[in-house]
């Protein structure tokens, strides 16, 4: 029996089983079980739970960094945001603002690196993801 004939026969048998017995056999996946990423779950937990002290302290510095950036004190902003990253590395906003700071300094290569980290940490954030993407676009325009 060649391969095609065998496949047809098997399909026929399956149809008989399915429609004859009215039971559904669990179809084995063509691919190995695909794991889900824990990232979103963990992030959700973080967001829903009480913010951790490190997160609060880091966010305080993020705000400072953002304000310095807005007032044109780019070098000082980078220093403050660096401290924020050191306190709580999972705060993706710091990476976003660091990318912004390097962009202001005209260093697209560094901006791209920090933007990449921002996109990873803020992947599940519906508010921040578009901003990170838009920043990525600006970096590309700048490097051209």
């Amino acid at each position: 029996m060649n391969g095609k004939k065998r496949q047809t026969l098997v399909l026929y048998c399956i149809c008989l089983i399915v429609f004859g017995c009215a039971t559904v056999a669990p179809a084995p996946s063509k691919h190995p079980p695909r794991a889900t990423s824990d990232t979103k779950i963990e992030k959700k937990e973080l967001r829903e739970g009480k913010p951790r002290p490190r997160e609060v302290a880091s966010l305080h510095l993020t705000e400072q960094g953002q304000m310095l950036l807005e007032s044109g004190k780019v070098d000082e902003a980078i220093g403050v945001l660096g401290r924020a990253v050191n306190i709580y590395p999972s705060n993706g906003k710091n990476y976003y603002y660091l990318a912004e700071a390097w962009l202001k300094k005209g260093n697209a290569a560094q901006a791209r690196e920090w933007n990449r980290l921002a996109s990873m940490y803020l992947a599940g954030d519906s508010e921040w993801s578009p901003r990170v993407y838009e920043q990525h676009r600006r970096i590309n325009v700048h490097s051209r």
Partner: protein, 771 residues
């Protein structure tokens, strides 16, 4: 008669001419002195040594702290204990569950604020709250100023803090006048009455008890002249004082005097000026000195070596009271004020001699400075150099290394050496992996014995500590579940046979890649290296920017080539920061004496590998600590998730441990400088030091682990075959991480694990559709 008259005339003329010449000479000399004085006074008056600072310290509620290290830090920051509630800058009160501070003014580049009182409450080893005592507000973050860790002295080794006359309190001005020259504002640089009085007193006592020099003369002597006692020098001093008085206002002269005057000795460094003396003796700015303290500083001018409160409190008090009496006599203070001040004891702040703190780190920073500024500039321009070092981490690292090496010498007496230069050595580097901040660097066990920085200058074989880079290369083709051969095989390298030494750490045939790395299995690692190709491993290692040369030899996979510890630490940071390698940052900001920023360096990063690969590597390296060569860390008290790798070289010449969490990375190396064996593996010699260090700095341990980045998936595999687990029949199914698109597709092929029902059908079904 005519002859006599003409002779007389000639003599008179000659004398007149001579007098004229002398007067002209004196005037010309005074002119020269005026130019000299102007040149010195208009330019930089003093050499101010540049200072190296640590990073500032951030405290926040919820933060774990090592209270003893924090208290040490506060003492180094010149906070002094008081029994009452702190009321002025620099005071602190330490209680069982709280700490009250009156903060010093914070002065950092582009960041200044006045000090204020705070209360830090603790719950066990955690900060419960930080409250501003003056307004009751809860603070989310508190910044303690940076520590001064080194001064770049010039040959004169003088330390002074310049103060303007406006900042100097009246009490101190009056005390100095009473002690040294009460008629300063009346004379013109030279006081005949003072000289007569001094002569009278000295004759009466039969010894030199008093000098007649005015403040201006003292200034001329100290600032311009040498201290020898000759008539010529005395005349020059007098002329200089007169010139100074002609050219400058009294206030200006007095201000320069107050900043110039020598007031004591701190080790080999002289304390000059009232600004520095106020801090040295009383730990406070000059404007905050009390009457008694002001009189104490004034009384030191005569002889700081004799009257220093650090030398003799009794003599100091007698001399201070004499100044207070003179102040009263001159009408500067009332009798009541004098009595109050006389009753006060001489309470000093205590001091530690200037020493180089974090000496290896400072050397590392200093080596970057000559490129920016010359040694002369560094020792005279009063620059401030702000760095990344955290002195709490530095102290913990120095202590951990010291304790660890002593412990090893105790356990293995053969490691003891009597020659200090040949003792067992070690190095530690602590970094923040995301930003590359160097938090601590210990380049050896005793800086005074050897200044060779083993953290940045040593080239040592990494041994198994290099294996993660071999396994990283393997991740392109294989997975953590891939079974590697652990048989002793002969490989052909460049046409020649090569056979790795040793036995496998695993008794069975074949070992999963994760286990091979966890157990640091040499045979399996060589098998992997030969499969992926030595050239590719060289390319991987080079991508991590190691500066040491390496060749595609099989021994490369086992770490038989040299690396610089700092470069190894930096490379490991890549795993701890989702594939991004940071530049190791030590020097942050350089400012001039007015606080203007001259140089600023930022953290910079470079992407080396994908976040997914970095995560998989971290996950595999976590197994090293959970079940591999570093599993003893758990028994030593490591309860938080961490990754790491031990390293041991041939004949136990080097012992390594590089461990990290998402927040912190530390590398420990132990060995002899001359390459003698230390008879211990990385897990025995280096790991305990790492644990000791990290347990001492709870503020850097969040207990977090890396979140799974995009591109990583999990699947259940059979622990024996490394293939997908067959439900219910594989006895030890375990969860494994894979790079997306690189997941094993085969179900377990071990006959006993094969299901005779559902799973078999699944496999048959898959085979069917694969054809």
């Amino acid at each position: 008669m005519v002859f006599r008259k003409s002779t007389k005339k000639k003599i008179i003329r000659s004398l007149c001419f001579l007098s004229f010449v002398i007067v002209i000479g004196i005037l010309l000399y005074c002119l020269y002195l005026a130019i000299l004085i102007d040149t010195r006074f208009s330019g930089r008056k003093w050499s101010i040594p540049s200072k190296v600072y640590s990073d500032s310290t951030l405290l926040f509620p919820g933060q774990q702290v090592n209270r003893s290290l924090l208290i040490n830090k506060l003492r180094r920051l010149e906070y002094r204990n008081v029994a009452r509630v702190p009321e002025s800058s620099g005071e602190m009160r330490i209680q069982e569950s709280s700490m009250e501070l009156y903060l010093h003014d914070l002065e950092m580049p582009a960041k200044q604020h006045k000090g204020f009182p705070v209360k830090i409450a603790f719950r066990s080893q955690e900060i419960e709250s930080i409250i501003r005592r003056d307004n009751g507000k809860t603070l989310p973050l508190l910044e303690l100023g940076p520590e001064k860790i080194m001064l770049f002295f010039g040959p004169e080794r003088q330390q002074r803090q310049l103060v303007s006359i406006d900042r100097v309190p009246q009490n101190l001005i009056h005390a100095v006048l009473a002690a040294e020259d009460s008629r300063f504002f009346e004379h013109h640089g030279f006081d005949f009455r003072s000289i007569l009085r001094a002569i009278y007193i000295n004759i009466r006592h039969g010894t030199i008890r008093q000098g007649g020099s005015t403040l201006t003369q003292q200034l001329a002597k100290n600032y311009f002249l040498t201290p020898e006692r000759t008539l010529a020098r005395k005349i020059r001093e007098l002329l200089m004082a007169l010139t100074m008085e002609l050219r400058y206002k009294k206030q200006e002269i007095f201000e320069i005097y107050l900043n110039e005057i020598y007031l004591g000795q701190k080790g080999s460094v002289s304390i000059n000026g009232v600004g520095e003396a106020a801090f040295f003796y009383f730990g406070k700015p000059v404007e905050n000195l009390s009457l008694a303290e002001a009189a104490t500083i004034a009384c030191l001018i005569k002889s700081p070596g004799l009257y220093s409160p650090y030398v003799s409190e009794t003599k100091c008090r007698e001399q201070r009271n004499k100044v207070l009496r003179d102040m009263e006599k001159l009408g500067y203070i009332t009798q009541q004020q004098r009595d109050g001040a006389v009753a006060e004891p001489v309470k000093t702040v205590g001091f530690t001699a200037y020493g180089k703190k974090a000496p290896y780190f400072v050397d590392y920073v200093s080596k970057q400075l000559p490129a920016l500024y010359s040694p002369t500039v560094l020792s005279s321009q009063g620059l401030s150099i702000y760095t990344t070092v955290d002195m709490q981490v530095q102290e913990a690292a120095e202590n951990a290394l010291q304790r660890g090496l002593v412990r090893l010498e105790k356990t293995y007496p053969s490691l003891r050496r009597s020659n200090p230069g040949r003792k067992l050595q070690g190095a530690i580097i602590v970094m923040q992996p995301k930003t590359g901040y160097i938090l601590a660097m210990v380049g050896g066990r005793d800086y005074s014995t050897t200044q060779f920085n083993r953290a940045t200058q040593a080239r040592r074989q990494p041994g198994s500590a290099i294996k993660p880079f071999v396994y990283l290369t393997g991740l392109d083709q294989f997975t953590p579940a891939t079974i590697l051969s652990n048989e002793q095989k002969t490989y052909e390298v460049n046409g020649k046979p090569w056979k790795p030494h040793g036995k496998s750490s695993y008794s069975g045939a074949g070992i999963r890649m994760r286990d091979a790395l966890a157990q640091s299995d040499n045979l399996a690692t060589v098998d992997l290296a030969m499969k992926v190709g030595l050239g590719r491993i060289v390319d991987t290692v080079k991508a991590f920017q190691f500066s040491t040369p390496l060749k595609p030899l099989p021994s490369l996979a086992l770490g038989a080539y040299e690396v610089i510890p700092l470069e190894l630490a930096r490379a490991y940071c890549t795993f701890a920061s989702y594939g991004v390698e940071p530049y190791p940052l030590s020097l942050k900001t350089l400012t001039d004496e007015n606080g203007n920023i001259l140089e600023q360096r930022h953290m910079t990063i470079q992407n080396i590998i994908s976040p997914a690969k970095a995560f998989v590597m971290s996950d595999m390296l976590r197994s090293v600590v959970i079940e591999g060569t570093a599993k003893s860390a758990k028994n030593m008290g490591i309860t938080f998730p961490m990754a790491g790798k031990t390293g041991t070289t041939n004949d136990y010449r080097d012992a390594w441990f590089v461990g990290y969490t998402p927040d912190l990375l530390a590398l420990v190396w132990v060995g002899f400088d001359n390459g003698e064996s230390i008879s211990a593996e990385g897990a025995v010699a280096a790991l305990p030091i790492w644990v000791d260090l990290v347990r001492s700095i709870p503020q850097y341990v969040s207990g977090d682990w890396f979140t799974i980045p995009p591109g990583v998936v999990k699947a259940k595999i059979c622990s024996q075959s490394g293939q997908l687990a067959v439900e219910a029949t594989c006895p030890e199914p375990i969860e494994e991480v894979f790079l997306e698109g690189n997941v094993t597709t085969e179900y377990c092929q071990i006959p006993e694990h094969k299901s005779h029902s559902g799973e078999e059908l699944k496999m048959w079904w898959q085979k069917l559709w694969k054809r």
